[in-house]
């Protein structure tokens, strides 16, 4: 692990990405304790204030402290995005590896169907599922997880096939190793790395998708301080206070940038040949 960290810190993307993501994870974990005010504490006479000593990022239309809302909302935005991505990756990895393992007609049939499902834009797919499950954070997570599954299945399958072709797998077959050993000890360690890279970059996409769903009113519901929801609510009051819209937008962008950078950094760090 320390070896991985060292390699990660060698590239600017890895170092910067790790720093940003580390900060975000910290904020997501400790948010509620770090917040100076409660996220729902209203102060009607202190509405639309710009950043000042009392409210570091300003207040919103109900006088709630924006910083506190951001800190508490980090959990919603970031954790749930991670959960959704993890779900999609696991489901996709299962399908993809199975398809690669089966090979032949079965593989082709599965992949054609996956391709067909992928012709539905992710957002549309998520919208349909969220409408199915009712508007809530939970259904948004499920929706995103399901929407990610075909893409991750594709990636897993192509990685698994590439690894399968390598001579060290052939050597294991020629040694008479059992299927279990080959998959777990020879293939999996070499398959996991590219998947982790892809997954990290997908988290960025999940954060954006989750925020978009909340923005459209289909994800987190008020009074949650999920960042996308904050942007949606703030739109109406843009001319009264641009800060209400600015901070959550920046936060979303920062998280996405952080995970993108980290994904690129991991790609180099996890490459065993460099």
């Amino acid at each position: 692990m320390s070896d991985l960290l060292r390699r990660l810190l060698r590239t600017p993307q890895g170092a910067l990405g790790l720093a940003i993501v580390g900060l975000i994870v910290l904020v997501a974990l400790l948010g509620p304790w770090l917040a100076p005010y409660g996220p729902d504490t209203m102060a009607p006479r202190l509405r639309y204030r710009p950043p000042d000593a009392a409210f570091l990022l300003g207040t919103d239309q109900y006088g709630r402290d924006i910083l506190s809302r951001l800190l508490v909302g980090a959990r919603a935005t970031v954790f749930l995005a991670c959960v959704a991505t993890a779900l999609g990756t696991m489901a996709g990895a299962l399908i993809g590896t199975t398809s690669a393992f089966l090979g032949g007609r079965a593989d082709e049939a599965i992949m054609r169907t996956i391709d067909a499902i992928m012709s539905i834009p992710s957002l549309l797919f998520a919208l349909l599922i969220v409408n199915l499950l009712g508007k809530s954070s939970f259904s948004a997570v499920m929706a995103i997880g399901i929407a990610f599954t075909p893409g991750m299945a594709r990636v897993t399958r192509s990685v698994a096939l590439a690894v399968r072709k390598q001579d060290y797998v052939n050597a294991a077959v020629a040694r008479g190793e059992t299927g279990g050993y080959i998959v777990l000890r020879e293939m999996l360690p070499n398959v996991v790395a590219p998947i982790v890279v892809e997954m990290t970059i997908r988290i960025a996409f999940a954060v954006m998708l989750f925020a978009t769903l909340s923005f459209l009113g289909l994800g987190a519901q008020p009074p949650s301080s999920e960042w996308g929801l904050m942007v949606a609510e703030a739109r109406r009051f843009m001319h009264l206070s641009p800060w209400m819209i600015l901070w959550p937008s920046l936060a979303i962008a920062l998280v996405a940038i952080g995970f993108n950078l980290l994904g690129d950094g991991l790609r180099d760090a996890l490459n065993p040949r460099t």
């Binding site: 012709s119 539905i120 919208l127 819209i245």
Partner: protein, 315 residues
């Protein structure tokens, strides 16, 4: 390229559309509320609901509903909207034309900006220009459409008062005004595309510039210009076709959000309305149109690729 390949691809497109229609149907069928409740509201009586359901054919068994729908579609009839009672196809096709305009303009803008940006970044690799483009593309790729839209409206519409914030004016009515109203949506939806494609172009060109054949071309004494244009760019820009085609899927999703924010009467907006109203025929048709667009664009891209790169032979 053999005829059998063409047939195979077309059959695949049909299969794709079939799968999409099934998936959409399955998802919408599990809904607790249905179109009837949406039409009459929460307080409708059970009798009124039952009457409407019978009228709209919603009380039939699920597989029968799907079968009838499919049968009608194969004859070109996409049914009537459960919400408006009007035929689905004409309304959606008109909405599609507006969305296509948005999409085409976005792709056009993207090509005009992303290609030069990516090329410059590759040629000036490691220098300031490359770093700037790199940072811009990381940022661009990390901004959801609603954030970009909001920022763009804030700066260009509210502060600088350069362009209108929302609304739609058909181009046929007033060309300049129509374009002005489309400017912000097009800009919004192309930001992510520009960021993504410029990054891909840069990475492709960097790879191509390091190939043996570009080195050989240089060492043959050809001018820098000849090396860049005749040898490097040709091969680097070819994969861009595939990348752009794959991004169309993402573009279609982005269009949904953008149309909602800017109140444009396009396919995306119609879909959102249809989803909220549980208007199944409209949802089906809308989803199919999007899936078909994606499939056709990718098919065309593959054909174009094979036509330009003679190595690719589809059997």
């Amino acid at each position: 390229m053999s005829p059998s390949y063409l047939v195979k691809r077309l059959a695949l497109i049909v299969y794709t559309l079939l799968v999409v229609s099934l998936v959409v149907f399955a998802i919408t069928q599990v809904l607790p509320a249905d179109a009837a409740t949406m039409l009459l509201g929460e307080n409708a009586t059970a009798d009124a609901l039952a009457a409407i359901r019978e009228k709209l054919g919603l009380d039939q068994p699920v597989w029968l509903q799907y079968g009838r729908w499919l049968g009608a579609v194969l004859q070109g009839d996409f049914g009537t909207s459960l919400r408006t009672g009007q035929p689905v196809a004409p309304a959606l096709l008109e909405a599609l034309s507006r969305s296509l305009l948005l999409a085409v303009l976005a792709i056009g803008l993207m090509l005009m900006l992303a290609l030069p940006l990516g090329i410059v970044a590759a040629l000036r690799r490691g220098k300031l220009a490359d770093l700037v483009v790199s940072i811009l593309s990381y940022v661009g790729v990390s901004l959801p459409e609603f954030v970009t839209a909001t920022l763009v409206v804030l700066v260009l519409a509210d502060w600088l008062k350069l362009l209108p914030a929302t609304g739609y004016v058909p181009l046929t009515e007033n060309l300049w005004d129509g374009l002005a109203h489309l400017a912000l949506p097009v800009l919004t939806v192309s930001v992510i595309l520009i960021a993504h494609v410029s990054r891909m172009v840069r990475s492709e060109l960097v790879d191509v510039l390091h190939t043996d054949y570009v080195r050989a071309a240089r060492l043959k004494g050809l001018s820098n210009r000849a090396v860049l244009f005749r040898h490097a760019l040709r091969n680097a820009l070819l994969p861009t076709i595939t990348i752009v085609a794959l991004d169309v899927g993402y573009l279609l999703g982005g269009i949904i959000v953008v149309e909602e924010i800017f109140a444009l009467p396009g396919l995306g907006r119609q879909l959102i309305v249809a989803i909220q109203a549980r208007d199944l025929p409209s949802i089906q048709a809308g989803a199919l149109i999007m899936a078909a667009t994606y499939s056709i664009v990718n098919f065309a891209a593959d054909l174009a690729y094979a036509w330009i790169d003679k190595r690719i032979q589809y059997e």
